[in-house]
C-alpha cells in the first residue's frame, strides 16, 4: 500500500496462450504497444525528442520568421539548402515530423492522464485505504505508549487528525482476530491533500486544451501587413495587404469588414537617440462609416471585437515632383523608403514612374537613399539622426523599360538589378537634394525633392484561439502550483495492548508524496499526539466520560 503513482512501467503482458484466436492476439499486441506508448519512460523520451526537434528551428532560418533569410541561405548554400528544405528544416514548426513528435507525446499523455483521472475520481469518493500490515516499515513511523485503552487512544488520534483536516476512517484491524473485535487491535487510516492529484490532472488536461486552442488559432486565424503613409488607409481584405498569411479554414468573405486610416505618425527619441515611443493616430470603422479615433503604439495595439491592429514599424516616404519638358507636372509622387538602419533611419527605396506618357522605353525611375538628418562627406550622403531634422536624398535617375507589365514579379522597393545590368535601364542623372531643390535631366525633365511623409507598418491580426489558449495557460499554471506545492499525506495508526503495563501501544506511521521533508513533520505530529494522549490520560476518568 503506497501512495506512489499508479505504475507506468512497461508491464510486460503475459505471452499469448497458444490456443488464442488471431483477433485476441492482435488485441494483445495493440494493448502491449499502447502500454508502451503511455509508459512514463516513453513520455520522457518523447519530451527529449520534442526539445531536440525544436533546436533546428532556432539555428536555421525559418520561413515563418523571415522568407528573406531563407532565400539568402539558399544563395549561400546552393547544394545543402534544397536537401534541408526537403527535410522541412526551414519550416520546422509546421513539419510533419515535429507534429508527429508532439502528437505522440499528447497521445501518451492522454493515455496516462485519463485512467489516472478515473482513478482519482474513485479515490475522491472512497475511504482512505486500510493500514498496511507492517506499519514500522513505512518511511516515517514510531510508537507511543499510553495508559488509555485502545479505543480512547484512537479517539485522541482521530480528533488531532480531524483538526488537521484529514479524512479519517476507523476500522477493525484484520490482525485482531485473537483479541476479539472491538477491544484491541483497532486501526485508523487518514488522508489529506487530494488537491495535489487534482492539480496534476488539471495541469496535464490544460496542456491538451492549450494545444487545441493553438490548433484552432492556426486553422481560423489570419494576419496581414501593410505600409500606410500618413493620410492614407486600408481595409481588411487580402487584396490590399503587402503580405498576409491565413489558416486553411479562412475564407475571404469571413474577414471582419474594418477600415483603418492613418492620420498622423510620431516617433519620439531620448537625448541619446534611443527610441522612446512610436504612436499612430488612426481612425477605424466599417467601410463607408464615419471612423472612430484611436491612438495606437508599441505595446498598445487597437483591439476591436477579437481583431487587433499593431504598429510594427515606421519609416519615411520622400515626395518628389516631376516636370516634363512640355510643362506637364506631376506633384506629390512618393513611395515608402525602407529603413536599412534603425539607429539613424537611413532608408532606401525606388520610385517607379511608368506612365509619364513618353513611351515604353522612356519610363523613369528614381532610386536612392533618404536621410532624415543628412550629412554629406566626400559627396556621400549618410544619416546621423533618426529624427527628420535636415532631410536629404541622394538619388540616381534611370531611364528605360521598367518591366512592370512583363508579368515577372518585382520588388516595389528597389529596381531590378538585372534590368540595370542588361542595359534595359540606364542611369541618366544623380544628385543630392534637400527639400525645395531640384535637378534637371539632359532632356529638360525637372525632378524636385519636395519633402517627406511618414509611414507606419501596420499589422492586422485575427486569432480566435487566443482567449482559449490564455485560459488553458492560466489553468495549467494553477494545476502546476497545486501539483508541486501541495502534499498528499496518509496517516495510519493501530493500537495493541501493552503486555507490560496494561495500557496501550499506539503505532503511528505516515506516507507523504510531495514537497519537503516528511521527517520533521512526522516528529511534530507524534509530539502533538503524545501531548494530547498525556492530557487525556491525566484527566479523571469521570470527566473524560462527560466530555
Amino acid at each position: 500500500m503506497t501512495i506512489e503513482a499508479p505504475p507506468r512501467t512497461t508491464a510486460a503482458t503475459p505471452p499469448p496462450a497458444s490456443g488464442r484466436s488471431a483477433g485476441r492476439r492482435v488485441l494483445g499486441t495493440l494493448l502491449h504497444w499502447w502500454r508502451r506508448l503511455t509508459a512514463m519512460r516513453t513520455a520522457i523520451i518523447l519530451l527529449f525528442l520534442l526539445a531536440l526537434a525544436a533546436v533546428p528551428g532556432s539555428l536555421l532560418p525559418q520561413r515563418s520568421l523571415s522568407k528573406n533569410n531563407v532565400t539568402t541561405y539558399f544563395t549561400d548554400h546552393p547544394t545543402l539548402a534544397p536537401i534541408l528544405d526537403r527535410l522541412y528544416l526551414f519550416d520546422v514548426f509546421s513539419s510533419p515530423w515535429f507534429a508527429a513528435v508532439y502528437l505522440l507525446l499528447f497521445i501518451s499523455l492522454i493515455g496516462c492522464v485519463l485512467p489516472r483521472a478515473l482513478e482519482h475520481a474513485r479515490a475522491l469518493r472512497a475511504a482512505p485505504p486500510r493500514a498496511p500490515r507492517h506499519l514500522l516499515r513505512l518511511p516515517d513511523s514510531g510508537r507511543l505508549t499510553t495508559p488509555l485503552d485502545g479505543a480512547a487512544a484512537l479517539d485522541v488520534v482521530e480528533e488531532e487528525l480531524r483538526v488537521r483536516r484529514y479524512r479519517v476512517v476507523r476500522r477493525e484491524s484484520a490482525l485482531s482476530t485473537s483479541s476479539g473485535p472491538g477491544a484491541y487491535g483497532s486501526e485508523l487510516s487518514a488522508e489529506k491533500g487530494y488537491l495535489k492529484e487534482t492539480g496534476n490532472l488539471l495541469f496535464h488536461l490544460s496542456l491538451i486544451a492549450l494545444l487545441l486552442g493553438l490548433a484552432g488559432g492556426k486553422l481560423w486565424g489570419y494576419e496581414g501587413s501593410i505600409l500606410v503613409t500618413e493620410g492614407q488607409g486600408f481595409c481588411n481584405s487580402f487584396q490590399q495587404y503587402d503580405t498576409y498569411s491565413s489558416g486553411p479554414l479562412v475564407r475571404g468573405a469571413d474577414l471582419t469588414p474594418l477600415c483603418i486610416n492613418l492620420q498622423d505618425f510620431r516617433a519620439t527619441y531620448e537625448p541619446n537617440l534611443t527610441a522612446s515611443s512610436f504612436t499612430a493616430k488612426i481612425t477605424y470603422g466599417g467601410p463607408g462609416q464615419a471612423g472612430t479615433d484611436a491612438t495606437i503604439g508599441v505595446n498598445d495595439p487597437l483591439r476591436v471585437d477579437g481583431d487587433r491592429v499593431y504598429v510594427t514599424g515606421h519609416g519615411f516616404s520622400p515626395t518628389f515632383s516631376v516636370t516634363l519638358p512640355d510643362g506637364t507636372k506631376f506633384t506629390d509622387v512618393s513611395v515608402p523608403f525602407l529603413p536599412t538602419e534603425q539607429k539613424t533611419m537611413s532608408s532606401e527605396g525606388a520610385l517607379k514612374l511608368p506612365d509619364l506618357g513618353a513611351g515604353k522605353d522612356k519610363q523613369l525611375a528614381i532610386q536612392g537613399l533618404f536621410a532624415p538628418t543628412g550629412l554629406v562627406q566626400n559627396k556621400i550622403l549618410t544619416s546621423v539622426d533618426p529624427r527628420p531634422l535636415a532631410p536629404e536624398v541622394a538619388i540616381f535617375v534611370y531611364q528605360g523599360y521598367l518591366g512592370l507589365d512583363s508579368g515577372i514579379p518585382q520588388s516595389v522597393y528597389s529596381l531590378d538589378p538585372g534590368a540595370i545590368s542588361r542595359g534595359q535601364l540606364t542611369k541618366i542623372g544623380a544628385a543630392n537634394l534637400t527639400p525645395g531643390q531640384s535637378m534637371t535631366l539632359a532632356d529638360g525633365t525637372k525632378i524636385g525633392f519636395t519633402g517627406f511623409k511618414e509611414f507606419a507598418a501596420l499589422q492586422f491580426s485575427h486569432d480566435p484561439g487566443e482567449y482559449w489558449v490564455l485560459g488553458a495557460a492560466i489553468s495549467l499554471l494553477a494545476g502546476l502550483l497545486g501539483m508541486l506545492l501541495l502534499r498528499r499525506e496518509r496517516v495510519f495508526a493501530r493500537v495493541e495492548p501493552d503486555e507490560g503495563s496494561g495500557g496501550t501501544v499506539l503505532t503511528v506511521a505516515t506516507l507523504t508524496r510531495g514537497s519537503g521533508e516528511s521527517g520533521p513533520r512526522f516528529a511534530a505530529l507524534t509530539k502533538d499526539l503524545d501531548a494530547a494522549l498525556g492530557a487525556r490520560a491525566s484527566k479523571p476518568e469521570g470527566s473524560a466520560r462527560d466530555d
Binding site: N272, T312, E466
Partner: protein
C-alpha cells in the same frame, strides 16, 4: 529621463566590490573544505537512491554530521562574507535602477547581474537553513565569481534609458520572473552537477577505488545534493512557466502574436521541456539518480545557451542586449 552619473558610477564600483567579496567567500568556502577532515565513520548516513521499497532511511531524520570546529567556523565566515557580497550585489542593481529611473533589467548586463544575484541568494538561503549544504559553497560561489567577471568584461552596458518596446509593465512581470527562474535553476543545475561528482565518487569508493578523504567526500551527501537539486527545480519550474506565459501575453501586445518561435521563445520552450523531463525522470524507475541529474544539468546548459547564443549570435525579436554589434 536623464541618467544620474554619480549613481551609475557608484553602481559600477559596487559591482567590483561584490566580485571581491564573493572571491573572499570562495576562499573561505575552500578553507572549510580543506579543514573539513572528518573521521570516516562520521560521514553522513548514505541514503541509498530511492528504490521500489521507498527510502531506506532510519525513522529519524539524517543526523547532523559532526564536523571540526575549525571547518564550521570557516563555513560561517564564508556565509557571512557571501551575504555581505549579496548585499552590495543588490546595491549594484538598486543604484543602477535609481540612476536610470527604471527597473534595472533593461539589457543583458543587468539581466545577467540580477540572475546571478538570485542564484547567490537562493544558495545562501539553503546554506543558512541547511548547514550541510555549505560544503557546496565553493562549487556555487566559484561559478558565480566567474560569471560576474565575464559579465563585467563582455556584457557591460552603460546605464541608459529603455528602448520603446521595453516600456511596459510587463517588463516587471516577465523579466523579473525569468530572472528568478534562471537564478534558481542555476543553483539546481550546480547541485545536480555536484551530485554527479559525488555519486561517482561514492561508487568508486564502494568499488574499493580512490581515497575517502578527498574534496569530493566533503561535499554534502549524494542524497542531500539530489534533494537540493529537486527542491530548487520544483520551485523554479512554476516560476519559469509563469515567465514564459507572461512573455507570451506581452508578445501578444508588442509583436502582434503570442507565440512565433522567435529563437528566444524556442529556447525557452526547449528549457521548459527539459525541466519537465527532469521532474518526470526523478520519479520514474530507471531514470532516478544519475540519469535525472544529467537531465537537470542539460537544462542549465540550455538556459545558459539561451542567454548567450540567442542574445549574441542569432537575430530575433529579443534584441535588447545593448551590446555593440
Amino acid at each position: 529621463m536623464t541618467i544620474d552619473p554619480t549613481l551609475a558610477a557608484l553602481s559600477d564600483h559596487l559591482f567590483s566590490i561584490s566580485v571581491a567579496l564573493y572571491s573572499l567567500a570562495v576562499v573561505a568556502f575552500c578553507a572549510q573544505l580543506a579543514f573539513g577532515r572528518r573521521p570516516a565513520d562520521a560521514r553522513e548516513p548514505e541514503l541509498v537512491a530511492a528504490g521500489a521499497a521507498g527510502r531506506a532511511v532510519p525513522p529519524t531524520a539524517p543526523a547532523m554530521v559532526p564536523e571540526s570546529a575549525r571547518s564550521r567556523r570557516w563555513g560561517q565566515i564564508a556565509v557571512a562574507v557571501a551575504v555581505l557580497g549579496a548585499l552590495t550585489h543588490a546595491g549594484v542593481l538598486v543604484t543602477r535602477g535609481l540612476a536610470a529611473d527604471r527597473l534595472p533589467w533593461g539589457n543583458m548586463y543587468e539581466f545577467a547581474t540580477a540572475m546571478v544575484l538570485v542564484a547567490t541568494v537562493s544558495f545562501l538561503i539553503f546554506a543558512v537553513r541547511m548547514p550541510a549544504v555549505r560544503h557546496l559553497g565553493a562549487f556555487v560561489m566559484g561559478p558565480v565569481v566567474v560569471a560576474l567577471v565575464l559579465i563585467g568584461l563582455f556584457l557591460y552596458a552603460e546605464a541608459g534609458p529603455l528602448v520603446a518596446a521595453l516600456r511596459s509593465y510587463w517588463l516587471a512581470v516577465h523579466v523579473t520572473s525569468a530572472i528568478l527562474g534562471f537564478g534558481i535553476f542555476f543553483v539546481s543545475g550546480i547541485a545536480s552537477g555536484a551530485y554527479l561528482l559525488r555519486s561517482r565518487h561514492d561508487a568508486r569508493l564502494a568499488a574499493g577505488q580512490g581515497r575517502g578523504d578527498g574534496v569530493l567526500s566533503r561535499l554534502p551527501s549524494a542524497a542531500t545534493l539530489d534533494r537540493v537539486a529537486h527542491r530548487t527545480a520544483v520551485f523554479g519550474f512554476p516560476i519559469w512557466t509563469f515567465a514564459v506565459i507572461a512573455g507570451a501575453i506581452w508578445a501578444e501586445s508588442a509583436w502582434g502574436r503570442f507565440w512565433g518561435w522567435d529563437p528566444k521563445e524556442t529556447w525557452a520552450f526547449i528549457a521548459w521541456v527539459v525541466y519537465a523531463a527532469y521532474l518526470h525522470a526523478r520519479t520514474t524507475a530507471g531514470w532516478r539518480g544519475r540519469a535525472a541529474a544529467w537531465v537537470n544539468v542539460t537544462g542549465l546548459v540550455v538556459m545558459v545557451f539561451n542567454l548567450l547564443y540567442v542574445n549574441m549570435v542569432s537575430t530575433g525579436l529579443h534584441s535588447y542586449a545593448g551590446l555593440p554589434k
